[in-house]
Symmetry: C2
Subunit: 154 residues, 2 copies
DNA sequence: AGGAAAAAGGACTTGCAGGTCCGATTTACG
DNA sequence: CGTAAATCGGACCTGCAAGTCCTTTTTCCT
């Protein structure tokens, strides 16, 4: 139902949010989130284009979350890599109804709307703050922090 | 978000429900629902395996809905061709948490649950009965009925 | 029996998501 | 300036969903 790319992007961003405002290399992200390293690099590029993360080349560089975790919703992340496409017109291509959807596609679009709403309702901060013994990403120990340089988040 | 196959299957089944208890050939279904004929044939096979439709070879044969439209939900159709796979275990493969999902995947699964619920809540009959000028499948006129033979639905 | 109409099913093609590899480019630091 | 560390970006590979085509099988009708 959700693509691998979406799954990977969410893991990556949640991880960055957990480490924020520290920067992490794609290699570090890949290892912790169990995402193929080179593929993650492409996904990160997309996240950067969408303004969700900032990247920094060269020695000491890496990837850092561009905003406050409380200001980023799951929907933001999903839409950055693979926008949820609501059904706005009859897929059969008949223009007989103009804007109105037929009952079937109305229901399908309602389902999409429900997903959108569920994702819009949760921020990264909320994911991290979950009052449970279960830590985000199903992972326990975190690697030691790297210092973040002035030119990133801070 | 939803695959083409799911979209096609829903169109096909809604069409059959509208024509029920008459039988239709895959060629007729394909034309009305604007689904590639040969591909629809494969999808129908899947629906038949799931018991949603009955097929009849030979002259005068075709496809007929196997149940009452009020007894078939959208979820039934979706699950017949491409089951919604809920997230029941941590996709990272860490067994540290056993059954409990991390906050992220909990949210994702919640979204899936919402879709499931939305689809479970609507039957084909309800789709057809929508009190609107907008007929199902965004289509207006229907082809003339074929008689259905005793050995199918009746 | 024979022909026509229908689904069944196998082989094949195509486009794209997911994934890999590697060189080019940018940057920090001694 | 040189080197190492990091992203960038292009080329490529692979498996699967989507779609096409054709033959076989079943069935009805005359």
């Amino acid at each position: 139902m959700f693509s691998q790319t979406v799954e990977y992007a969410l893991r990556a961003v949640v991880y960055l949010a957990a480490e924020a405002p520290a920067a992490r290399t794609t290699a570090q992200m890949a290892e912790t989130t169990k995402v193929p390293k080179d593929y993650l690099a492409k996904i990160v590029q997309g996240l950067a284009r969408a303004g969700l993360v900032r990247t920094q080349r060269g020695v000491g560089g890496g990837v850092v979350l561009a905003k406050d975790p409380a200001a980023v919703t799951i929907l933001d992340v999903v839409n950055a890599v693979e926008p949820i496409r609501r059904i706005t017109a009859c897929p059969l291509g008949l223009k007989a109804h103009g804007v109105r959807l037929c009952p079937l596609h109305k229901r399908m679009d309602n389902a999409l709307a429900a997903v959108e709403e569920a994702f819009r309702a949760t921020t990264l901060a909320e994911v991290l703050a979950e009052p449970t013994d279960s830590v985000p990403l199903c992972d326990g120990p975190r690697p030691e922090r790297l210092t973040v340089r002035g030119k990133g988040a801070g």
